[in-house]
Amino acid sequence: MLELERVLVVYPDYRLRATLKVPTGAHVAVVGPSGAGKSTFLAAIAGFETSEGRVLWDRQDLSGTRPGARPFSMLFQDNNLFPHLTAFENVALGISPSLRLTAAEKARVEAALARVGLTGFEARKPAQLSGGQQGRVAIARVLVQGRALILLDEPFAALGPALRAEMLELVRSTARESGATVLLVTHDLAEAARMPLMILVANGAAEPPADSAALLANPPEALKGWMG
């Protein structure tokens, strides 16, 4: 379980607080008006933002732990891949940054690429792949990392809605297999609606997760404005 206790991120012109719990294995959309701090919220969990309060994973306090030592995988809007490395190497980074892999580890990379449908594309560099294929490589890396928490910050932004939905479904299905928890920041309401739970970030606070259907049926003021 992911727990946030009196987490507070302070900026000169705004602050964001959060006290909430996310059950293990939950798939949660993080929604709210743009500029409300959705990405900041995710970054505070990841440790990219310094914050007050405590972030706990399975009762273990992560505060003060550097991002690299926290149990998550994260995907960003772009720049998830290193342009000078092949698809295989980009995935292999998820196992070892030194790229020195045992035979078994190599097999795991092959398997992950196969799982996202990229068998035969191992030797290509990102520039030689389509946007969707690049997204799949990033997902394959999340797969080999095998982390219990997957943080997605408006991922695959460069892709069309249909392709993006397909990518998300791929992430979610692999997460279901491993039992990982998924947090997705999105500005796309339809995309958010497909997630069973929602965290609303608005007015300087992140609300505890609520049932998506119920929230959308009876939207609070902040969400209404956003739904336009």
Binding site: P67, G68, F76, D78, N79, L93, G94, P97, S98
Partner: protein, 510 residues
Amino acid sequence: MARRAVALTPDWTGWLAAALAAAGFLAPMGAVLWQAGQLWPTASDWSALRFTLCQAVISTVLSIALAVPVARALARRAFPGRGLLVTLLGAPFLLPVLVAVLGLLAVFGRSGVLNEVLRLSGLPTVSIYGLQGVVLAHVFFNLPLATRIILQGWQAIPAERFRVAEGLGFGPWAMARHLEWPMLRQVVPGAALLIFSLCLTSFAVALILGGGPKATTLELAIYQAFRFDFAPGRAAVLAVMQLALVGAAGLLALRFAGDVTGAAARGRVVQRWDLGTWGWDALLIGAAAVFLLAPLVAVVLKGAPEVVELPAAVWKAAGVSISVALAATVLTMALTTAIGLLAFRVPKLELVVLPGIALSPLVLGTGLFLLLYPVIAPDRVALAVTVMANTLAALPFALRLVLPHLRQAVADHGALAESLGIGPRVWLGRVLWPQVRRPFRFAAGLTAALSMGDLGVIALFADPDRATLPLQVMRLMGSYRTDDAAGAALVLLILSLGIFWIIDRGGRDA
């Protein structure tokens, strides 16, 4: 209508500007060649070529080798005054050579600060003359440029990539291997070739610090060919060798170079999590600051007491230099604009101005003299010729700085502007200008500063009544007035840095 928006100026203005620039190089070169008799390099020409290459290679390697760790430290660390320090570290590149050499001597000379300290500590002293002196001065000039370019490369690494790296648990080695090394491989060749080209033609440095006949560069040999004997043939041979060398380096640089603007290098520090303690970074930044700023401080300390009592002629010369710098800047930027607005539709057009890096100012000056002499007394056009020579020298840099941004702006918004039917005024004022303003003003500032300090052709054309400030400094030195020369050098320093700062600053506001 739409077509008119993107094609802001009629094509002929661009072609005319390009033709003018090309003629500016070719005609003087031709005039010198015309006088040439003997056309094959002698043994001493080849040895000048060897020394030129040797010092340029060493200077370039050292500049880059030092710039990489300094740029890395600056890219990693946020501290109060960082922006100011980055700006100040750029100063040596803008410095008139004459002033810089005075400063270097005060620090590294036989009775300079460094050797005094060494003597007091009972250590052997170091000499600033000969190859090591030339290299030291070149590193002093070019380390800031290299640092700027490489720092910019560091800051161009997307912030997300650092987060991805941290998320993957990269240690310092993985960081260097997957983030920093690939960036350096892209940025360093361009920076190195640019600095190499600059070191090849550098003249005044070898002139004063060379130390004797063994440290003769091609440009210095050209200078000697024009003295006493007036041997334009030899000068032409040497100039052609130099042109070939720099041309080759320049073409390579153009191929490899990424965006060598350096203009955006004041960006904010990307947050990183792999930083250890300050130790090395502080040492590196401190050492670079001392190396680059101490000579500046020395010039200020030496000149300050003299400034109040400077002869009126110095202030008059300052006025002339400012006029020359402004005129050269206006002309350079006008040509840059005209060629630039054509060059984003005519690929490789900028090659036309490339000889500006390679052409010896002495050959340029002598050629112009030979061309103009039959028509008009050279001293009557001394300042106009100076403006022209400065323009030709600055043009390749200005175009190189502005063109990528211009091309980018057109690529990003050209189609949109056409589809919206935006008129030329809005296109220029609201779309193009805001996007090229920073590099444009940076280029203009650079041109002004370099023109201010240039001694170049004015010495050939000197008009007793309208000396520029660098010429006046030389005249003061030639009349035993070393103290006044130090004061005038400080004025020159302030003017060069000041004019750059004023022009460039406007590009950073808002």
